[in-house]
């Protein structure tokens, strides 16, 4: 019996996978060297560093030891600050090559900014096209960490930091509007939601009515002024029409309008006469947040639009 167990153990050991495997990373980037490599393993809440003794120059390759098995994401940082990635890589016993080229660039969806190994996870739940992110704290660089590719609504930003200290972060939208500064520390279990309300600061709310019996309308279109607002009731009649062309609603400005019952539709027009409409306010804030996706569009033929 004992012998059988020994044989089984030997067999198991001979068939079990090795701890690590060798992977060649080949740099096919144009005039960019790969300076560092990080990996995120499944179920892991931190990044692991793959030591890169010397940067991988363009058209050159280097061999690295990767942990055997599935790797959720491999992140490659170039000397120009660009981030490249490989999702769902299966490092196996077979010698393998990862080719890093433009097709591996972080075009959108999830952006990783690596200054350490513990994540601060942010999701752009606002309507702002966030083109600058400034972070203050230990071990992080000064200035915009996003580069020129913005964080679009619905996208995620993971800032990997070393310290468990608190960091203060500010966002800037395309119009230059700054969000509230908010403080956060790394926590792999929570995602910080960037909301529209963080951009309302410094701009006073315009009150045409008492806020308790009115509705709040916000201009969340960073590039446009709202010049008129119309509220339709459930029977489709205009219960309120406000022409504010002389004093338009600027980006991130809010206005409170008198409205006894919940409107069936709120329609806004921007300075280029584009029409936007919303039938419901934002469920979390109760504000009618007009954004670029509120733009009216339908299946009409051109002459009937």
């Amino acid at each position: 019996m004992y012998m059988l167990l020994v044989i089984l153990q030997c067999a198991f050991l001979s068939f079990s996978h090795p701890e690590s495997t060798s992977v060649t990373v080949s740099n096919h980037l144009c005039e960019q060297s790969i300076e560092s490599i990080y990996i995120l393993l499944p179920m892991s809440d931190h990044l692991d560093i793959i030591p890169v003794p010397s940067s991988i120059e363009p058209e050159l390759s280097a061999c690295f030891s990767f942990p055997w098995g599935m790797i959720s994401r491999i992140i490659f940082l170039s000397d120009s600050g660009s981030v490249y990635y490989y999702n769902g890589y299966k490092a196996s016993s077979n010698p393998d090559t990862i080719s890093i080229s433009l097709s591996r660039k972080e075009f959108g969806g999830i952006f990783d900014r690596v200054y350490g190994t513990s994540p601060i996870m942010l999701r752009n739940g606002s309507d702002a096209v966030i083109c600058s992110v400034l972070i203050d704290g230990k071990g992080v660089p000064e200035g915009n960490i996003m580069g020129s590719n913005p964080l679009m609504p619905g996208e995620n930003l993971r800032i990997w930091v070393n310290s468990e200290e608190t960091y203060s972060i500010r966002f800037f939208d395309i119009s230059g509007q700054q969000s509230e500064v908010f403080c956060v520390s790394s926590n792999p279990d929570s995602i910080v939601e960037i909301s529209n309300s963080m951009f309302y600061n410094n701009i006073p709310i315009r009150e045409q009515s008492d806020i308790s019996n009115g509705i709040v309308i916000a201009n969340c279109i960073s590039s446009q002024l709202i010049v008129s607002i119309e509220i339709l009731d459930s029977s489709g009649n205009a219960s309120c029409f406000l022409n504010i062309a002389d004093n338009p609603l600027i980006p991130w400005e809010r206005i409170v309008l008198n409205c006894v019952e919940q409107p069936a539709m709120v329609i806004c027009t921007d300075s280029l006469q584009r029409v936007y409409s919303l039938s419901e306010p934002d469920s979390s804030s109760g504000v009618f947040c007009f954004n670029l996706l509120s733009l009216d569009f339908d299946f009409s033929f051109p002459e009937r639009q």
Binding site: L102, G108, M152, P153, V275, F297, Q305
Partner: protein, 612 residues
Amino acid sequence: MSLLAFVQTIVRVFLVWSAFYFVGFILEKPLKIKKILPLIPREITGILLFMLIAVILSLSGILNRTITPIIVILIGIPGMFVILPFAFRKLTSMPLSFYNILNASIFILILTISLTYASMPNLSFDDPLVTYAVQPDRWLNTGSIYWLEDTAFSGFPLTYEITAIWPASLSTDRIDQLSVLQVFQVTMLLVALYRGAQILVIRKKLRIPLATVVLSCSLIYYWCSLAKTDTEAILFCTLALSSIVREIKDRTIKPLTSWFFMGIALATKQTALLILVPFLIYGIFRMHNSSWRMRFAALCLISLLPLVFAIRTFIKTGSPTYPVYSISSIVKPQWKLLPIPEEIALLQDRSSEMHPESEYSVLKHIGIFLTSMEGILLLFLAGLFFAIFNKNISLFTFVPLLLYFATAILVFWPPWWGAKYAILVYPFTALLGTSVIQTRRTFATIFLPLTCIVSIVVPLFIVSPSASFPGLYRYTVTKSVLQGEWDTSHNYRMYPSSPEGMAHMWLNSYIKEPSVILSLHEEKRYFCDQPVYVGWRHPATQYLYLNNTLEDECQILDNLGVDYVLFYRIDPGLFNMENRLLILDHIGINDILEPIVIVSTNFLICKYNSPL
């Protein structure tokens, strides 16, 4: 989607056919068409005359959504007064036997299933939204038939697109227009079956079960409900082949109608070229002792309509059949097409290892090709069996079709993918089989309904990737359309749509000046008011996908006057295509591709800022 909308669509399509029929009815005698083309049905004369009217309106610049529907209504309503009493007389003349009532009830059920399916606008399938439904739509919006510069597919042939102007003109918006065009296709199939049966003198009693067999076929159910050329090509191929067989049987009939129909089929869809295999065998057999004058007339008739489109395409591009089967050496430089990018070619190569079906054996492939015909194959085999064992029926009748099947298997290889291109002969195959077996009256009267049952029951259980229980799926669609609400009880979803349609409609509202749009991958343009160049498809933009510099790429975009570029945000190109599209390294605020908005979670609309 509602019962009322469905009925309205049916009425509008009927109005169009009434107009076609009425014009044919009125002008048939004065034009003496039947003298030259004795087998031509009135509504086909009508289609051709309406095509001519469309060209005249186009030259006058009034082929718009006001004048065109008025013409259809003004001609269609009196047409209804001709058709409806005629149809009523036909119906009342049918004996009220159990056999007829049962066959008619099954036919109405199957027809309702096909029509309701067709009335549901298909936003998932590319071709109509890339070109076939786009051309009539844009022509009606601008008031004239013109060459769409943003696509390579605006040339030869255009019969379907010009015919489709008329039903399209009766629609209220772009979604409704798709629905009308799709239902129009199914009715074209009905005309093909009805007129084909008339031409081949098939007994009236057998026509309804025959039509049920054809309509039940899964490939027909799907492909004849799309707003594209297939069903019109089916119509003319069926008429051409039925006419030539009739002209062989009855040598007193001038053998010209078939050649004329074949010409229209070639001017509808280029795949109809393969129908020349059976057609020419029949045709040469019929013509072997005809006069040279007759042969010359036949050649003139087959080339008449294709020649019109070929000349137009030749003047524009330098090659008469551009972009398919075009002669590369004579194509004008600005229209020269490069091979499509290797990544897309790999995906489109259906015999590549990417598709697991490529491992099928040859026998399985042939089996797939033949069984795709479902009940139609049974009618064909029955006819063939009769021809083999009945000395009165010539086996030659079936030889051209057998040769066609062999050629089609080779040309459209692999058959799991290519079988759909063979649907052009499906109705004729069923008609030919029935015309042969009807010589045994009792056998045909029993065999047809039995084939009907097999045709209805078998496809219900043929599993496809989109529907694990096709019967249940068809029932879900019909129930949903008639109820006006999608039935979710069986977990079937409506067609998913790729995101560019949404992006185009958004741009329609966002853009305030004429603009040019470049789509890096997705092909549809139906919902866009602006020209949409599909990068890898258009000769002017294909160079983007070659290895070139950023300046070269921007120069291509500048030459076209591109204002907006559309692509998937997370993964903009297929496989590693991004490596050759250097502009993708410049996405950013104030950069070459400046993101504006993401629609449908992952489709990015960028403003193009030229660095040059």
